[in-house]
Subunit: 249 residues, 2 copies
């Protein structure tokens, strides 16, 4: 069944109103008609079975048939603090992390970041990434759309560490500590919010790793094969959601 | 340090000969010269530190300085049996699975496969995917290049199951069994060869799931979010290499 997001204010009692680009998707691409059913989420983790009642060029109306008891979101909230990668890699990162179950993505400029975005370009990119997150959340039938935040610098990134129960940073020069070691050191029941910090193509500078360590960030070695920047975050997210979340069953 | 693969017969005593496209890469792109060092693997899990001794347009010669004791390959061998996806998704799958540590990729036609490849096109694609695997193995500094095999049909795919200690098949209609349940049921020390079976965009048909079950394949639910065909294999591979292999440390 096809799944859509609406703003909470577009659910009024049993009436659901769908606006914007989804109207064309529903009426033209999917050719759905009154009587057909879809599922709708409000982004606040409520999900409904909805029967379409009317469609026109501007909007689609539906009626809530029942609230669905679906827990599509993990109990742990994972934020990805991602060193800005080159070309369109960030699109892939946002899309795949949304599917897997990320909570928030924050792009970051670091010592080795090659891409420099003007503030107008950064704003455009943020809108683009947020749109990708919405589209991927729809396709993976999530009940929440991950938030994509403004690009920040490394120092501002480190200020966020204190808000998390665990912060990990893959680093090729880390010789011993794997993700399993880190998780075994913790009382896993107390871990609710996790921060993953990933460097850009060139990795982190030794100074950045030292500052991160001082803030309590755990450097981690991801096995003996070198993962690219766009793969490292996905891999850590998958392992965390397997070990602490809902991906492993 | 830059990493290259050569054929085993191109290592003769201490002499290493590099041919083909890598010559241009070394001399033109990287502008390496006699005296510069690279690492070289023979695809048989041997890795060497090599000093370049001579370069010309056709080949690069080097001398082995020492054998490197690097264990870049996981103790478990994972094969991905992947339902042929649309467009260029297979490129992404081969590239990312190689980085993460796959051993073999076998494309498969299933009931819901949309893409039909003529035998000449299938041969071309296989060459393309094998090239991607080699390039990704180089970048991730592996000591083995994953093998990409010919496209097979679902029945031939099921005949492979008996060769593996564990075969898992993500299936959206599986209600209970997660990957953790499956792994807990097994003596993990006896698991060396694992088969991951992934459907194309439309998933598997109920008949296919029934036949797979009869052959001992374990259907598995990958959490409550719907993963795309090109994400499911990566996710299962990551979880398996975390739990049974070398990705978690």
């Amino acid at each position: 069944m096809n799944h859509f997001f609406v703003e909470p204010e577009d659910i009024r009692g049993d009436l659901v109103i769908i606006r914007g680009q989804d109207v064309k998707h529903i009426t033209r691409s999917l050719r759905l008609q009154p009587g057909d059913e879809i599922t709708v989420a409000d982004g606040l983790e409520n999900k409904y079975l909805v029967e379409l009642t009317a469609t026109n060029d501007k909007l689609v109306e539906g009626e809530i048939k029942k609230e669905l008891e679906v827990d599509a979101e993990s109990d742990i909230n994972v934020t990805l603090l991602q060193g800005l990668p080159k070309s369109k890699k960030m699109d892939l990162i946002v899309r795949k992390c949304t599917e897997l179950g990320i909570d928030k993505v924050i792009p970051m400029e670091t010592d080795h970041t090659v891409v420099k975005l003007s503030s107008s370009k950064a704003e455009k990119r943020k809108k683009r990434w947020q749109k990708i997150a919405k589209s991927a959340a729809k396709q993976s039938k999530r009940t929440r759309i991950p938030l994509v935040e403004d690009v920040i610098n490394f120092e501002s990134g480190l200020e966020l560490v204190a808000d998390y129960d665990l912060a990990v940073m893959p680093w090729v020069a880390e010789e011993k500590q794997g993700l399993k070691d880190i998780i075994q050191q913790q009382n896993t029941k107390e871990i609710e919010d996790v921060l993953i910090i990933i460097g850009p193509e060139g990795g982190f500078s030794p100074q950045e790793v030292a500052s991160a360590r001082e803030e309590g960030v755990q450097p981690v070695l991801l096995g003996p094969r070198t993962l690219r920047t766009e793969t490292a975050g996905l891999a850590v997210l998958t392992m965390l959601l397997y070990e602490l979340g809902d991906l492993g069953g």
